[in-house]
Amino acid sequence: MAEYKVQFEVFEGPLDLLLYLIKKEEVDIYEVNLTKLATQFIEYIDLMRQFDLEIAGEFLVMASTLMYIKSRELLPVDQQVAVEGEEEGEDPRWELIRQLVEYKKFKDAATQLQTLEARQENVFPRLPAKLEFESTAPPPKPDVSIFDLLNAVNAVLKRFEKRDDARDIFEDKWTVSEKIEFILKVIAERGSVRFAELFESAAGRSEVVCTFLALLELIRLKQLICVQPEAFAEIEIRRAETAPATETPVTDPAPSDIAAEPVLNQAPETSGITEPPRQS
């Protein structure tokens, strides 16, 4: 029985099985006898049933399509159209053949990808020794920021929370929109806020997540920006200049001493994150 199971699982779906049956007949897809194919397919399904194998829904759907095609074939040609009232081109036989041809093409393309995959395993890039010249520029700043990491943390927390429903059964008291309001209020009052402060009062995971989502949303909406005045400094959240190119002064009620610090303020077009000036 286990042997059969292995065999059955070779087929990745009904189309795959159909292609296999066609190949066994050694005929072109366009020349295949669909009635015969239907019979073989259904025999195969029956075999799977006999062995108590789980039959994926897709196989059953295909089986019924094939039964339908087969039953149509049994009708005299002149009655077919009348009975079905179908327009030309809705012929289920054609639809099936089209699907098979298309699937076959991608299956072949997959085989070619597999060849490329195997080939790449044997391709070694030239990796020369590092050139050495006297004046070496400072190492490049990686194209990543702490926010990428934070985003990742957030994604993990979110997903974990979804799966974790069995353990934490209490209502979420927090919503992202509340937190958006909260952050905007703090910023309006104070001009800027340290990143960590936003989370200090958080009571639990869900609140952290909400606050964080709210923050990301505001950054995305270009309401706020995050700046890190220098490497290793604390990240600060402040209001974004709406038109960064023209340096429009923001109506900042309380420009704190920190806001006066030099900040390399690029337009927050993508992430809203400003990279710290590189120390060299």
């Binding site: 990745e12 779906g13 009904p14 189309l15 795959d16 072109d28 366009y30 020349e31 295949v32 006898n33 669909l34 009635t35 015969k36 994926a56 897709e58 295909m62 074939e73 049994l74 009708l75 005299p76 040609v77 030309e88 012929d91 036989r93 054609w94 639809e95 053949i97 089209r98 699907q99 041809v101 298309e102 699937y103 093409k105 991608f106 299956k107 072949d108 393309a109 997959a110 085989t111 070619q112 990808l113 597999q114 490329l116 995959e117 195997a118 080939r119 790449q120 395993e121 044997n122 391709v123 070694f124 890039p125 030239r126 990796l127 020369p128 590092k130 050139l131």
Partner: protein, 232 residues
């Protein structure tokens, strides 16, 4: 000094594959050096098209030389790579290449469909493969070969997927045009209705007569009414 040799020396010495843009930047930087000579200065603003021509010429020269390495363009970046037949010795030198496990057949099929048909919705992929693709999509997204690229302009705005740069790197392709049988399979992409994509897979798929087929088969396609089956 010829541009192509300058590019060659850069690719020969670079620690990683270099794109045309990166090469252009290096040439620009060299032109601004204090001691830049006339040649260096003349290359301050070389056009991308010139660079591409020079790179392609270089690649073809190396191809002709038929040595143990060649110049390859992978995912839009150029680098020298070994010919696969020397792998046994290179493995002995640098150790087995670190690569993730090979992709399964379902993963390869799904990837092929996405590669040729992108941007494509999950429903469309399922329609072509005839099976549910949730698990396999997760695998290939996890491996960074595929990513969400947008949303289809249809009810529900389902996400659409496309292949990543890593996909090209993984298979050693210079770009999507380099996909095997690209001419044949990509024809389908070109003929897809440009705007409103639909999740109704039947519609997103080209009509049968547009499927690129050998001329003999094509004839048959056009007259699907003729029953291929023997009748009752």
């Amino acid at each position: 000094m010829e541009l192509k040799f300058i590019l060659e020396s850069l690719l020969f010495s670079a620690q990683k594959p270099l794109s045309v843009k990166e090469l252009r930047d290096v040439l620009a930087a060299a032109a601004e050096a204090e001691d830049a000579d006339a040649t260096a200065k003349s290359l301050a603003k070389v056009r991308d098209s010139e660079l591409t021509v020079a790179l392609e010429q270089l690649a073809s020269e190396h191809e002709t030389a038929a040595r143990s390495y060649r110049l390859a363009c992978v995912a839009g970046a150029w680098q020298f790579v070994s010919q696969p037949e020397y792998a046994p010795w290179l493995k002995a030198l640098v150790g087995q290449k670190i690569r993730p496990p090979r992709l399964s057949q379902p993963a390869l099929e799904t990837l092929a469909i996405i590669a040729y048909r992108q941007p494509i919705t999950r429903a469309e992929v399922e329609q072509i493969r005839g099976v549910n693709v949730d698990a396999v999509m997760q695998t290939i997204m996890e491996r960074g070969l595929v990513e969400a690229v947008g949303r289809a302009e249809v009810v529900g705005r389902p996400p659409t997927y496309g292949t990543t740069l890593l996909f090209l790197e993984y298979f050693g392709l210079s770009g999507l045009g380099d996909l095997p049988a690209a001419d044949e399979l990509r024809k389908i992409v070109v003929q897809k209705p440009p705007a409103p994509v639909t999740t109704e897979p039947g519609l997103a798929t080209v009509p049968p007569e547009q499927l690129a087929l050998g001329s003999e088969q094509e004839k048959k396609v056009e007259t699907p009414e003729t029953p291929a089956t023997g009748g009752p």
